[in-house]
């Protein structure tokens, strides 16, 4: 597979892995790289760019030891422990539904045409904590263009692997397995929406959704479905796993929104992992460039 960085990043700003791994030395370098890699900062106003410059990457250890991946257990440290022997090869991804070119791909063939790039995104969990993560992946829109959805395709539905033998959480009816997520087609086509295969410049650890996951940085973390085996182009809005579990608490859109509380807790603030005081949660997690996708929509109703 071809790994090419985004053309606008000078090679001098690419951080070598030794620096990634060395936290203390890394902190200083991180701010500059983060600002360069966050696409939002390129387009957005200076104030926002300045704010993003200060964003410090969440340490690799925390990104990979504190996970919500219920297929491997509900406690935050369960996935790292229970996903150790998860087999991600061979792996196939089925593209189905209203597309000109439906097919089931071997993972390597699926990834082969795409240029991987590194992007630093904020991740805001619906549980009111957040991280800053350097992902590696490619825009979902590149895949969509490749498989050519027909005019009937209005939504994209994603499905996680269903394999209770390997995924102990699936032996219990915590959610209705397999995990399902979805995006409106225009959300899926947005340049920020990423299909990720790695983080911190290396392959995704199993507990982070290896070998292929979604990253939608302006939505709560649960939208960013992990270990994807199926991508379906559909006409009607998919019912996601969390909508099925608690429809009054988790909506289809799940946009990060400090003004719309979760029925049980406030979404005004969040705790950035590694910080003591809570910080204000930003509309669309600070990615205001997506606002136009929702113009005229009542985000209280479509939460």
């Amino acid at each position: 597979m071809l790994i090419r960085r985004a053309s606008d990043i000078p090679s001098s700003e690419i951080t070598p892995e030794s620096v990634y791994m060395n936290r203390r030395a890394f902190m200083g370098a991180a701010a500059g790289v983060a600002a360069a890699l966050v696409p939002g900062s390129l387009a957005a106003c200076d104030a926002e760019a300045a704010q993003q410059e200060q964003e410090k990457l969440t340490p690799y250890e925390d990104v990979t030891q504190y996970n919500n991946f219920y297929e491997f257990g509900v406690d935050k440290d369960d996935p790292a422990r229970n996903a150790k022997n998860f087999r991600t090869r061979p792996w196939s991804v089925a593209v189905e539904g209203h597309v000109a070119k439906p097919a089931t791909y071997d993972l390597e063939d699926f990834l082969q045409p795409h240029k991987l790039e590194d992007r630093v995104y904020r991740l805001r969990c619906v549980e009111a904590w957040s991280m800053v993560i350097p992902w590696r992946g490619f825009p979902l829109r590149d895949l969509i263009n490749r498989v050519e959805p027909t005019s009937k395709a209005k939504y994209v539905e994603f499905v996680t692997l269903h394999d209770p033998k390997q995924m102990p959480g699936q032996r219990v009816g915590i959610l209705s397995w397999p995990y399902v997520e979805g995006l409106r087609l225009d959300e899926a086509m947005h340049p920020l929406t990423l299909l990720a295969t790695g983080l911190y410049g290396r392959d995704l650890p199993n507990q982070n959704g290896a070998p292929l996951r979604l990253v939608v940085p302006w939505k709560y973390g649960f939208k960013s479905i992990k270990s994807i085996v199926k991508i379906r182009f559909v006409e009607n809005q998919p019912t996601t796993a969390w909508m099925r579990a608690a429809p009054d608490e988790y909506g289809f859109y799940a946009n990060v929104n400090p003004n719309v509380d979760h029925p049980r807790w406030s979404q005004k603030k969040e705790r950035r992992i590694g910080e003591f005081r809570r910080r204000d949660t930003l509309m669309f997690n600070g990615y205001m460039e997506v606002a136009s996708l929702y113009s005229g929509m009542d985000l209280r109703r479509y939460f």
């Binding site: 250890e61 219920y70 509900v74 915590i174 049980r264 406030s266 705790r271 003591f276 005081r277």
Partner: protein, 205 residues
Amino acid sequence: MQSRTVRNLALLKTALWAACLFPLARLVYAAFAGRLGANPIEAVTLATGKAALVILLITLLVTPVRRITGWNRLIQVRRPLGLFAFFYALLHFLTYVVLDLFFDFAAVGEDILKRPYITVGFAAFVLLIPLAITSTRGWIRRLGKRWQTLHTLVYVSSVLAIVHFFWKTKADFREVQVHAAILAALLLVRIPGWYRRLRPVSVRR
């Protein structure tokens, strides 16, 4: 025989103190060893809340066990257990106010008023305060029969604690169900006793 049960009781009390201090010791150790994980405040909140609930349930176990075994001196472990439950509930509450919200009393107030799981959790904690205060010998003497009545609040508090746990659970209800079942059993075994006490005096000779 007498001295042996006394010795057993002393041993039991020592074990009780050790067991009840264990969750705190583990937290302190983890904090200094840097082993509280990526979200230490959440870890402390969960651990103290869990300790409070478990010790509260163990407190409710004392009376049924005493009835069944006839070992009346066992009553002596009930007060320390109850106070330990209160101690962890207090730590749980302080973790939330000090560490989590850092004295943002407006946010605390809003949570208590607007978030049902926090409302009931707070109520469960508040109800334990008079029980802790009146747990001394002096208060027991002063309140007389009313002390018993006052301390039935422990049942209300433990039910609220379980509701708090239920309402904060996201998807996996197994753990809270186990605790709820244990509380239900502990309340059920008391029903015959309550029933007897409510019957008219004529039943007793």
